[in-house]
């Protein structure tokens, strides 16, 4: 029976070591002092552009809000996903229910590292895996702009997630796999500035890849199928392929893409639909140059066939 005791001992030691390692590996990591020092005071006027590029209002305004009510970031939308229901919180300037008491450093840690002021992990339904690619100066500008928005009282309901996704600490391991400030698509030297500007908007604040790219079993985006379209994580149906591959938008010119983002009409005058309706409202607030940059980037990225299964024949 000695061998059994040895085995048991080994299992306990290894398991214990694994748990200790897991604990350290899953610890929230904040921004370093140098990055925080480089934030500087933001410019609210410039931050407005980042606010719309980032699409904050699509998830954080009250569902169905129109016009100026979209600036009341009270939260409460229910995102029903295979992991459970995520409820975007109140990020208005309310001191108690919102983020009115957050410092600029708190805000930067949330946006770039997915870490809350109290040191916990945010769920990546908050798309910090994309925001991590943003420039600290843009984070500072966004913070300044959000300071100008109204304080609205009221806490949104909590997330309703199933095990094991309800263990926040586990997100630390997820971050080790998927959180990186590096661009997704490496572009060669001599790439036009317009395409680079588009890459920043799409991969960073715009967080297009969060819905338009299929995900692996652990919920990380499959960078090898970047923007190839995906089965919708929330609700039903699919999110379209926006590369130039089979099933994608090869036939769209750059002007078509920019026009779609501005007006909501596709080249054959179908209209924007689904969750993209809110996104397009935000894109319409950007400058024509920003929309043209997004279009130029989408035409420059590697083409992929659809990242979702073909439609089943009608039954």
């Amino acid at each position: 029976m000695a061998w059994l005791k040895k085995l048991l001992g080994a299992v306990i030691v290894l398991g214990g070591a694994g748990a200790v390692a897991g604990w350290f590996l899953s610890a929230p990591v904040r921004l370093d002092a140098a990055t925080l020092a480089g934030l500087g005071p933001g410019d609210a006027a410039k931050g407005k552009r980042i606010f719309y590029a980032g699409g904050c209002t699509s998830c954080h305004s009250k569902p169905g809000a129109e016009g100026d009510a979209r600036l009341q970031l009270v939260g409460g939308l229910e995102l029903k996903t295979p992991f459970g229901t995520f409820v975007p919180p109140n990020i208005s300037q309310d001191q108690k229910d919102g983020i009115g008491a957050w410092s600029e450093a708190d805000f930067a840690n949330a946006m770039l590292k997915g870490v809350s002021p109290s040191g916990g992990h945010f769920y990546p339904a908050f798309p910090y895996a994309s925001y991590a690619r943003m420039k600290p100066a843009d984070i500072a500008d966004l913070y300044a702009f959000m300071k100008t928005l109204p304080a609205v009282a009221g806490k949104a309901p909590d997330n309703k997630l199933s095990f094991p996704f309800n263990i926040r600490r586990g997100i630390g391991l997820w971050k080790r796999l998927y959180l990186s400030p590096e661009p997704v698509i490496a572009l060669p030297d001599g790439t036009p500035d317009k395409v680079l500007a588009g890459r920043y908007l799409v991969e960073g604040p715009g967080h297009c890849g969060e819905c338009h790219t299929p995900r692996d079993f652990a919920g990380g985006v499959k960078k090898a199928e970047w923007l190839a379209g995906a089965v919708a994580a929330e609700g039903s149906g699919v999110v379209p392929n926006i590369t130039s591959g089979e099933g994608g938008i090869k036939d769209w010119s750059e002007a078509d893409i920019a026009n779609y983002l501005e007006t909501g009409f596709t080249p054959d005058f179908d209209s924007v639909g689904g969750a993209m309706v809110e996104v397009q409202k935000n894109m319409a607030q950007l400058t024509a140059d920003d929309r043209a940059a997004i279009a130029a980037y989408l035409k420059a990225i590697p083409p992929h066939p659809n990242g979702y299964p073909a439609r089943k024949p009608a039954s």
């Binding site: 609700g235 039903s236 149906g237 699919v238 999110v239 379209p240 099933g247 026009n259 007006t263 909501g264 009409f265 054959d268 005058f269 179908d270 209209s271 924007v272 639909g273 689904g274 969750a275 309706v277 809110e278 397009q280 073909a310 439609r311 009608a314 039954s315």
Partner: protein, 145 residues
């Protein structure tokens, strides 16, 4: 007697299936809306010169299309199955669906009544109508492929 009733109702069902295809009908009307929006958009963007009479014709056709779009006939129970991108939400919230359609009809009517005098006026109307398209497609349509 019972057999006869069943036979008649089966014939009637077969007949309605053969003569009316609400999915095709509603798709044809939607396609026409898109085509009209395309004509208007060309003038808004200056790809074709602004022509008040042609713009008004397009808006009138849009209004006629909207008035033909009878939700009860085009979205009968059971027509959520088949080659359609209509969302189940239509039948769960028929009143809400009809309200968005009614808004489109009202906006098309208002556009005709206002008879746009220049490309800018037409642009404002196209934005309103396009916004209605998006509002409805946000909730009541599912992208499937």
């Amino acid at each position: 007697m019972r057999k006869l009733v069943i036979a008649i109702s089966m014939l009637a069902f077969a007949g309605s299936a053969a003569y009316a295809d609400p999915i095709k009908d509603r798709q044809a009307l939607m396609k026409e809306r898109g085509k009209l929006a395309g004509q208007i958009s060309k003038m808004v963007k200056g790809e074709t010169p602004f022509d008040g009479a042609a713009a008004l014709d397009a808006l009138k056709a849009m209004q006629a299309n909207a008035e033909k779009f009878d939700v009860d006939t085009l979205f009968p129970a059971g027509s959520d199955k088949g080659d359609t991108t209509a969302a189940p939400k239509i039948w769960e919230d028929m009143a809400g669906f009809k309200a968005t359609e009614d808004k489109f009809t009202a906006d098309a009517k208002a556009a005709v009544a206002a008879a746009p005098a220049d490309a800018d006026a037409l642009k404002a109307q196209l934005n309103t109508l396009g916004g209605d398209c998006g509002t409805c497609h946000q909730t009541y349509r599912i992208k499937k492929s």
